[in-house]
């Protein structure tokens, strides 16, 4: 199979799955917003709908790979299973996008008024403005959700690699890995990545443009759009089914299948006295991931400042900085491996620096997107108002101001940091290429446990690797809140 064919498969699948995900994520959003604002059901539903995004691909792939094996006699079934697993994550991502971004800044009244204007079908100006109103109005959030979903589906590697039998599911990322495994030189591998990077730029550029230019305030009318009772019931019904299926596929099924093994594995780890060293290994891995996420966020913030300063939404320098992240961790890792063999960099080769650099570069495109989202989420007007409140003499008002700033800004930045850390923590390609001898990230160990067929210890370790950093994150968030 040629790279072009593998790319076509990846693009086609990403397109199909993402198109299906758009209405599903909308129904999930409507299900969540139908609940009383701030109520427990609403919070639980939100968490449930977002969870598939945070289930490590290793666990999903591991849980479903035997099912994939059972489908070996039908290529179509293997592809459908993979697409379904991707769909779960994409629906969660698109729901997150819909949850975070404000609705349309263009009201339905404005659109109606524009459509009432005379000579509307003959004037180019009319059509141009009509499309502009639509794209930056009601189509903006679905379009961003669509582009983000496409990007996620197109970049996937691990799930495809874990499920693959008879070269299906076909994915360009797996194709590239295999080409390099066969000994393709780095120069050719770099050439292979050009079309894939171009595809991703085609997704990121309009996404950023829509994010930055689309306005930051929604109309009240958009937020409470009217719909008939039967339509609303049908939509929330679809939303409920979607959440049930995505949670069932990515969380409940793996849990049901693995909880007894996890308990047994934990018991064995406890008996062997390896729980403490394992926890240290997890925390060290999380520390490196946190560091990479922090630097990536800082770099994204720097690029963002440059954008504001130059009044361009994507500068050439920014695009160059994003490229290593777009060509994938394999090729970026190999380039850095070569670079750190140069005499000037060789002294720091056996440190965490090469791995850290690669992780920062890998995370940068996602960090840039997150910073753009954060910018949209915390409009200057709101922040300024909150800051003004802090000058008040009343301690109560000052306290309220601190609380507002926490909600509008600090908490969101910390969550963005936690999300980037999570993505980095579970990346295996960079770690396997660039880690120093004395530092074995936990994800490498998990992959090896999977190979040895030691299911109990694999699921126990995976559970700990998932719970320990997130528990620490929640504790840190609480501490930050108190400190705030």
């Amino acid at each position: 199979m040629t790279l072009t064919a593998a790319l076509m498969w990846s693009i086609g699948r990403a397109l199909l799955v993402t198109l299906v995900a758009v209405p599903l994520s909308k129904s999930v959003q409507q299900l969540v917003t139908a609940q009383r604002s701030g109520s427990l059901p609403q919070r639980l539903l939100t968490v449930a709908a977002l969870l598939p995004l945070f289930v490590p691909e290793l666990l999903t792939g591991f849980t479903w790979r035997l099912a994939s094996a059972k489908l070996v006699h039908s290529t179509l079934a293997t592809e459908a299973l993979y697409a379904a697993l991707l769909l779960c994550r994409i629906v969660a991502l698109q729901f997150a996008v819909r949850l975070m971004l404000p609705g349309s800044p263009v009201s339905t009244e404005a659109l109606h008024l524009w459509s009432m204007m005379p000579r509307r079908r003959t004037s180019l100006h009319w059509w141009k403005s009509w499309w502009r109103l639509k794209i930056f109005g009601p189509w903006r959030v679905p379009a961003i959700a669509f582009l983000a979903g496409m990007l996620l589906a197109f970049q996937d590697f691990e799930t495809a690699a874990l499920l693959q039998i008879d070269r299906h599911p076909v994915a360009w990322t797996v194709w590239l890995f295999d080409a390099h495994a066969l000994g393709e030189p780095l120069s050719r591998a770099l050439r292979f990545t050009v079309p894939a990077a171009a595809v991703q730029l085609l997704l990121i550029v309009p996404g950023l443009s829509l994010l930055v230019h689309g306005g930051r305030l929604q109309t009240a009318q958009q937020a409470v759009r009217q719909s008939s009772q039967s339509t609303a019931a049908a939509t929330t019904g679809v939303g409920a089914i979607t959440v049930t299926l995505t949670i069932g596929t990515t969380v409940v099924w793996p849990l049901l299948g693995n909880v007894p093994d996890a308990a047994l594995g934990l018991l064995r780890l406890w008996q062997k006295g390896t729980l403490l060293p394992l926890s240290v290994q997890i925390l060290r891995s999380a520390g490196e991931a946190f560091l990479a996420a922090g630097f990536a966020l800082l770099a994204a913030y720097g690029l963002q400042s440059q954008r504001v300063h130059r009044k361009a939404w994507l500068t050439g320098r920014s695009a160059v900085a994003l490229l290593p992240g777009l060509i994938g961790p394999l090729v970026t890792g190999l380039v850095l491996l070569s670079a750190f063999q140069l005499p000037i960099l060789r002294p720091v080769y056996d440190t965490i620096l090469p791995m850290l650099c690669s992780h920062v570069l890998m995370l940068l495109p996602r960090a840039v997107l997150l910073v753009a989202v954060l910018q949209v989420l915390a409009p200057a007007v709101a922040r300024h108002s909150a800051e003004l409140l802090r000058t008040a003499r009343s301690p109560t008002v000052q306290q309220a101001s601190n609380h507002l700033i926490w909600i509008l800004q600090t908490r969101r930045w910390l969550l963005a940091l936690a999300i980037l850390t999570h993505w980095c923590f579970w990346d295996v390609t960079t770690a396997s290429l660039l880690r120093p001898v004395q530092f074995e990230p936990i994800v490498i160990r998990l992959y090896n446990e999977m190979h040895y067929g030691r299911t109990e210890s694999l699921v126990a370790m995976s559970g700990l690797s998932l719970l320990l950093p997130w528990t620490l994150t929640l504790v840190a968030l609480q501490l930050c809140r108190r400190w705030n």
């Binding site: 064919a5 035997l66 059972k70 491996l337 965490i352 800051e387 001898v437 090896n448």
Partner: protein
């Protein structure tokens, strides 16, 4: 936009401190540590390494191969690092990759006194590497689905449909070694014809031997090409499987030893030599026979060899010499690249 609370400068200082802390994760011991690259499964190799440290007091910094990385791993890493290697000793779980390193001048000859135990077939004439503790290429058969006999396997493999037969992708691991042996035996055209025939008849190609094992163990396929260690893993899990050696037309088997080699220009050659002496000892071969069911290649106390490994010793005695396979390995890879990329 500004962070009013998480100011970038403060945040950067915090990250810098964290980085400094992570950079301090170096060996705290004052004794220089041997740096070992190990492609053998960590679960079996670590006790051997611990025993070495216990007996000699020499600490070992080990980097295991990553299964996620497959053949991209340690061999390629050693090639990339050859100008200034950080590794002292390479413990490979095969020999072809080690011979490739020898061809690329990455290895340094060392004749260990313990190497005298090992037959000439399994070591380099110029002492660049020495083989020990082997596994075999085998057919894994689901005994609920078919008889575990050579005749039944032959019949299954010569049928019109191979959609109940599994094999790992030939670019990885021991399947690559298998293909290289066949290339050396048959020549390029016959190997390609065989490969094409397997695919035309619908053989199930998976990403690794462990997946082959799982397909057969679960009864999704009836028979597959794998290694003894994977077959033993299925047997340990109580699966209805049996194994038979893969044999060439002249009845020779494919025995794939571990190999150990000293790295040229390494930092701790003396420590490396001591480790190689230890690894090639009878004690370690027996340890690996008992834990990983690897076949001792050197002379060992026969009574100490586990019952289940003894038949494997007989099969291994019929093994083909892997050196001709190493010579054609590059040709196999070139062909597989063309197959994969369609160019």
């Amino acid at each position: 936009m500004t962070f009013s609370r998480i100011r970038p400068l403060t945040f950067a200082i915090f990250l810098g401190l964290l980085a400094a802390w992570l950079f301090t994760f170096r060996s705290s011991s004052s004794t220089p540590a041997l740096v070992l690259y190990c492609a053998h499964d960590a679960v079996y190799a670590q006790p051997v390494i611990d025993l070495f440290t216990q007996q000699t007091g020499i600490p070992v910094d080990v980097r295991f191969d990553e299964e996620a990385n497959k053949s991209l791993g340690l061999t390629n890493l050693l090639l990339a690092e050859r100008a200034q290697p950080r590794c002292d000793v390479f413990w490979n779980n095969q020999t072809l990759g080690t011979i490739r390193l020898q061809q690329e001048d990455v290895l340094q000859p060392y004749r260990s006194a313990q190497a005298e135990r090992i037959p000439d077939t399994f070591r380099d004439a110029e002492d660049n590497w020495t083989g020990f503790a082997a596994r075999l290429r085998v057919y894994i058969v689901n005994t609920d689905r078919m008889e575990p006999t050579a005749a039944a396997i032959e019949q299954a493999l010569s049928g019109d449909s191979l959609n109940r037969v599994a094999i790992a992708q030939p670019q990885f691991g021991t399947t690559l070694s298998h293909y290289s042996v066949l290339m050396a035996e048959w020549g390029e055209q016959r190997l390609q014809a065989w490969h094409t025939s397997l695919h035309d008849r619908g053989i199930r190609e998976v990403r690794g031997n462990s997946m082959t094992r799982d397909l057969v163990a679960e009864g999704i396929c009836d028979v597959g090409f794998t290694d003894t260690d994977d077959a033993f893993a299925a047997l340990d899990a109580g699966k209805p499987v049996a194994m038979l050696p893969v044999r060439l037309e002249d009845r020779r088997t494919l025995c794939l030893p571990n190999s150990v080699a000293l790295i040229r220009n390494c930092s701790h050659p003396e420590l490396g030599k001591r480790f190689i002496d230890f690894l090639l000892s009878e004690q370690v071969e027996l340890l690996l026979a008992q834990s990983a069911r690897q076949i001792p290649l050197g002379t060992v106390d026969a009574a100490s060899v586990p019952e289940e490994v003894r038949p494997l010793q007989e099969w291994a005695a019929d093994s083909v010499d892997l050196k001709p396979a190493a010579e054609v390995n590059a040709v196999v890879l070139d062909w597989l690249i063309q197959e994969h990329t369609g160019q």
